[in-house]
Amino acid sequence: MKAKHVKKLVYHIIVAGFAVLLLYPVIWLVMSSFKESELIFATADSLIPNPFVLSNYAQGWEGFGNYGFGTFIFNTAVFVVLVLIGHLISCSLIAFGFARLKFRGRAFWFAIMIMTLMLPYEVVMIPQYIIFAQLDWLNSLKPLVVPAYFGHPFFIFLLVQFIRTIPRELDEAAIIDGCNTFGIYYRIILPLITPALATTAIFTFYWTWDNLLGPVLYLNSPSKYTVSMALNMFLSNETVSNWGAMFAMSVVSLIPVFIIFFIFQRYVVEGISTSGLKG
């Protein structure tokens, strides 16, 4: 009994200690955001802000011109949610098709899909931009959101790999129960891949939140800008950068991502136990 407690304590000390080590840069970022902007570099080796100020947050929150930072957060949130819905629906459907259904051309399309991941975006960017320009989709979220409803190779592949770990006997049992193909997808597979769907949700959220290039290319009006674009505007290549405000708003924009992760990580690890699958 005692040995068990000691073991637990040692575990927590090691895990927590290592977390602090990994998190030192993050802690530094948060602490610096409470320092006066001019002191951030002068006192970089000290974690404690002296004096402790909130002015960076006030200044950063004001945003630019007529748009407060809240606008940028709202825009980003809309963007993220629309992409998230798209990914969850389309990727799970497509992945089920690739992983469970036997049809002619499956290997071909799968190879094509993986290939699209291997070409750097920089070289397809211009032609794609022209396509969206022709569709008259510029300066709107459409070029950024609509493709999400046609699947994303990374998540499709991820879900395929998870579906393939699920025994086929379950499908057969469902067929005997009278399910059709869609039923197998919806009733059997979807609940069982909750951890992978949660992973998809987390990644999508964070990648979209962090996406810089897409918004830079397709959003022109400042009223539509996202957080990632706004953060860059605290920096200047010619005059003085407002590091304080940039750090402060970086911290603010981390909070939603942090919360989403904290909520969804439970499904990553608990999905299977709640689904009631036993051997």
């Binding site: 001019e38 951030i40 570099f41 002068a42 970089a44 630019f64 011109g65 007529n66 825009n75 809309v78 629309l82 629906i89 389309s90 459907l93 960017m125 211009i126 931009y129 022209i130 320009a133 569709l135 008259d136 510029l138 300066n139 709107s140 979220l141 459409k142 959101v145 609509v146 409803y149 046609f150 009278g178 399910c179 059709n180 869609f182 039923g183 919806y186 810089l212 290039l213 830079v216 290319l217 022109n220 009006s221 400042p222 009223s223 539509k224 674009m229 860059n232 505007m233 605290f234 920096l235 200047s236 290549n237 010619e238 005059t239 003085v240 950068s241 407002n242 590091w243 405000a245």
Partner: protein
Amino acid sequence: MKKSLFVLLGIMMTLWLAACSGDDSSEDATSDVDDDATEDTADDAATSDGDVTLRIAWWGEQTRNDYTLEVIELFEENNPGITLEPEYASWDDYWQKLAPQAAANELPDIIAMDLSYLSQYANNNQLADLTPFFDNQIDLTHISEDIVNGGAVEEGVYGFNIGVNAVGLHYNQELLKEVGIDEIPADWTWDDYIEMSNNAVDNDVYFDTGFQPDVFFNFYLRQHGQRLYAEDGSGLGYDDDQLFVDFFTIVRDQVEKEASPTPDYLAQLAGPEEDPTVKGEGIGVFQWSNQFVGLEQISDYEFEIAPMPGPNAEDGLFLKPSMFFSISENSEQKEAAAQFIDFFVNDLEANKLILGERGVPVNSEINEALLDEVSDSQAKVFEYIAWAEENSTEMGAPDPAGAGEIISALDNLSEQVSYGEISPEDAAEHFRNQAEGILGN
């Protein structure tokens, strides 16, 4: 029962997915509304009662974005019927955006342009020639010809110069005295520079923080009657590689005797805030005049501006356009765009908002009127530019297309020289080969 429900769901999904590829989906209503509205007004504008909407793009941070929006407001008040839609982004993001817009013929009407990109965009018919607007929409009464020609590419003027810069040494007078130098005379030479550097080294401080290769090598070449690029952009503008060797030998020797920081030390710095000169561990910085205000702002020390070392500093020095406004070739509202440029450059109230933040104003009258308005640091810059105007020569042709690649090659070689990886002689030869290769084809 359940079965049919699933089928229905499947069909709905397919339909809905198909609907997404149509041109109007309701999912981004927030962005759609004003989007379509602006397009409508823009289309109407060309035909009907003279209401015009222009897109204007620039790079900048908080301060610049805020005052530029105020200038735009002021302009709209004075010019009812013209609406400007601002599009601003950080420097990196801005150029990232502009390239595909150019490729898709979607450039904004008014574009902030930098000297290093001017030729690239002008040569490819992306920008409109501004000469037809001179003395019509754009009043040139108080703007010198040299300044206007700063935006000349071949036959036309493709960028309107909205501010000027000049290089100089921004130095800490107090520290200079501490190392035993009373002042930097206006007619100092490279030999004086080396001498003064020795003083600094003896007192364990840096004299400067090195030279941005393309800027200062070009200055050095001009002092010797040559220039970095040939006037027609077909190759390098100097024949004698000895000049390359001489300049980069100075650079290397300065690093070796620790009058300038080593390149690996400089690479460690997180930002300008950690610069030795800013922290009082170096006497000065060789840089553009628009960086002076920022230097004083982040440093606890006070700075003065000294001209560049001679001989023939006058031939070396030129007024560099700090920024241009260009009008895109695909703009349907070029006159209105030119009207805005005129307002930006010639309106006193507008310039009271701008306060020389984009470089010292090009309009000489405004320049004088602003002297009382600007900060002490800014006043020093104005003063230096006024002096430089008398003591400089014409800039000549702008950087040719391909300059970006040449600058990158030069930076690379200069870095290797400072690291002691190659000799200035070898670097000179490599540079010539690479540059001729780039410009030759």
